[in-house]
Amino acid sequence: MGKPLRSVHLARFNSMKYAILVYETEQDFAHRDQHMPAYNAYSQALSEAGILTGGAALHPGPMASTVRLKDGQRQVQDGPYADTKEQLGGFFLIDVPDLDNALDWAARCPAAGLCAVEVRPLWSMDEN
């Protein structure tokens, strides 16, 4: 047998951007003040880890307006696009090496224990 190949770690792959999408129930939205300290701590931990690149908390679904153009006419509908019990309540943008890292951070998000958290890779501009 000859010499084994050197194993090479790939720098390109050590950076993946993900959105951690926070879903909340109506109750979660109503009791946000209670959850705020946990979210502040979470957000701080993301910052300390040096992986937080953005994010925002959103007002609840009834505050949303949904817009469509039908035959050039603007149609505005009161409420969110999808009328589901759980609504998008906010998001964090993170930059981590891979999905497992992103899932570890998602599991720490308070919403993971309250409702659900969705992890999605950001579409990169140089993907075709």
Binding site: M1, G2, K3, P4, L5, R6, S7, V8, L10, A11, R12, F13, M16, Y18, P97, D98, L99, D100, A102, L103, P121, D126, E127, N128
Partner: protein, 410 residues
Amino acid sequence: MDACRAAELAARNSYGRLVAYLAVRSRDIAAAEDALGDAFLKALKTWPDKGIPDNPEAWLLVTARRRLIDVARRSQTHAKLLNTLNLSGVEISDAPGEISFPDERLKLLFICAHPAINVTIRTPLMLQTVMGLNAAQIGSAFLVAPTTMGQRLVRAKAKIRDAGIPFRLPNLQALPDRLDAVLEAIYAAYTTGWDAVIGGDPRHKGLADEAIWLARLCVQLMPEAAEARGLLALMLYCSSRRAARRTATGDYVPLSEQDTSLWSQSLVQQAERELYQASTFGNLGRFQLEAAIQSVHAQRAVTQRTDWETLAQLYTGLIQVSPTIGARVGHGVAIAQTQGISQSLALLDAIPTKFSQNYQPYWALRAHLLTQLGDHAAAQQAYAQAIGLTEDLAIRNFLMDKANEGSLEI
């Protein structure tokens, strides 16, 4: 050896290893498969003229990697990937005759079992990427149309690439969760290779051995995983009977009529050791029970008889853990021996038609039992169903003989 056969042999023996190596480095399973497919085509074109390279595997690897580099260069996005592939390329082309490359198949299996991949596609994905089965074969094993299966496989591979699933073995806590799907794929590959002992696609003859090798890797990786050892034991028991499954002229020999002196006692002993080790972890599961069933059959080489009472009990346990149609039919065989034909038929009748109607062993057993009862008309119908569902020529001939005799030994 002619060039086409050399290429075919390399494809059969090294497909999974080559795909795994290329996929782990390019982090793109589909691209790795495409590149390797191109390399095989190129081999078929150039080897007949230029001769078979000293190390066909290394040749295929270098050619496929070059292809991956070309693709990456064209898309202009993977600058760092290019560096990586070039780096390892220097080492390969230095001495292509001596190259050894690490076996990444186990890593790729566990990547396919990542929780972010839909649970129903994990095993098919492993069968395609690591074992080299095509979508049609996998579709038929999983009762899904080939095109549907193909689309699901493409989507799963895209998800692994685009969602950033890491190309490494999971950590120790995550390993056990993924092991079940890995073991299931290894076993499915084994049975596919097993069925192909005679006739069928020659590429699959090596699958049974590859499956045993992969199970050994799993045992090395997780020495305390009882089910990994159980699966290894199960496959070793089955393989111990390889020489006894067919006559010299290729006729099918049912287990009960096999010449036990043809069974490999060294494989049986290996199997016994693995099964014993597995039992020490106190974590009984499907594969250990199936191995225990085969262990009872293996005893016949020593005792000259089959302990059907124990088999009936083991099948009862197996059905509780894993109520598959195969386990229920096996239970039926044991019950026919211990409690009689009508009890066995009653068990078969209790199996819902949707599970039984396309399951060949069910109809073979049913035909056998009905013949013994003297219900020849119903037996003939069951034989026809069994024969119609058989892919293996030798088994088909066996069943046709039995149908003609009006009697069948299971």
